[in-house]
Symmetry: C3
Subunit: 136 residues, 3 copies
């Protein structure tokens, strides 16, 4: 692997869960020693995803999970035999890749923003990739 | 800040609003003097977002706002005490970061595409970042 | 056009359809001869989009299309005169741009992941752009 590509293991603990992974983003940026550029964060799974949202009140990410469940129920009538179509749909809606700007060696996030790994069909062992691109 | 990172102020005027910000994207690309590469556009807020959609008929972006309100109502039963969970959910669904290809000094957009700042909990003063990455 | 920007024609054959375009991504990466970096994939249309999801069971992408139709029906009450607002909404939700990491000359995709072009208002002739960015 390239010296600017980082791989992390994530262990999820619930069927559906938002895990704050902002510290992994900061760690990859620090290890790359790149101070200006972008970080491309990538989830290589089809029943999980990534999102950027509020870290102040943990009820916000709970509300996101519950609202998605109301609209795309776990037990609706789906064709896919594994019974986790709801998780595939949520993955396509929040997305599996996020770009974050790096300035002065730090991610450019808003005051209340954290990067979350979204587990929609856990618990499982998951992977995460972060690629750092330099541009002064 | 790096010479290829641009920050803009945006003043939204309604509770929910789509604001065409394609001119800010063009401005950042021109000021960078980079002719081939990508632009990473980033919204540092958790109750707003970014989307790329039609600019021909303004009813399209109105339909997007109304459809999202039908599915994720402003006044549903949410946990988050601030009462704006609908806006956090919409932010996670449209996303807060978009990548646009730059070719010959211009954004590669479709004929009918514009870049929109999506206000879901306004009116407010908001920020926007654009990072330009060169690749010939 | 830059030597690292690739344009493809896609012919969709149904009103709504997910077309696996992972081979176009691999082709662009190979032609660029870039072994480490990212690929920015871009759909220049407002009633189509891109998503990354499962390729093992074709019922998964059928379930995604059906679930989106249940929530954002083709024939709901919309303002836009062309009658395809459902397609614009779906385009904003799955998004029109995706970033994929390149390592050792190959896209870093999960075992079950493919890149899909999402037609929401076809059949039509569509375009696709892929820009390759190098970062060792």
């Amino acid at each position: 692997m390239s010296k600017n590509l980082f791989k992390f293991d994530i262990k999820t603990e619930k069927a559906q869960q938002m895990i704050d992974i902002t510290h992994l983003l900061r760690q990859a940026i620090e290890q790359s020693e790149i101070r200006e550029g972008i970080a491309v964060v990538y989830c290589p799974h089809t029943t999980a995803g990534l999102t950027i949202n509020e870290n102040g009140d943990p009820d916000v990410v709970r509300d996101i999970i519950e609202a998605l469940n109301r609209v795309f129920p776990v037990n609706a009538s789906y064709r896919h035999f594994e019974g986790n179509s709801h998780a595939h749909i949520k993955s396509s809606l929040v997305g599996v890749e996020k770009n974050i700007i790096i300035s002065e060696g730090k991610p450019v996030l808003g005051t209340w923003q954290s990067l979350y790994f979204c587990e929609f069909d856990g618990p499982r062992r998951r992977n995460l990739f972060i690629k750092i691109i330099e541009m002064k």
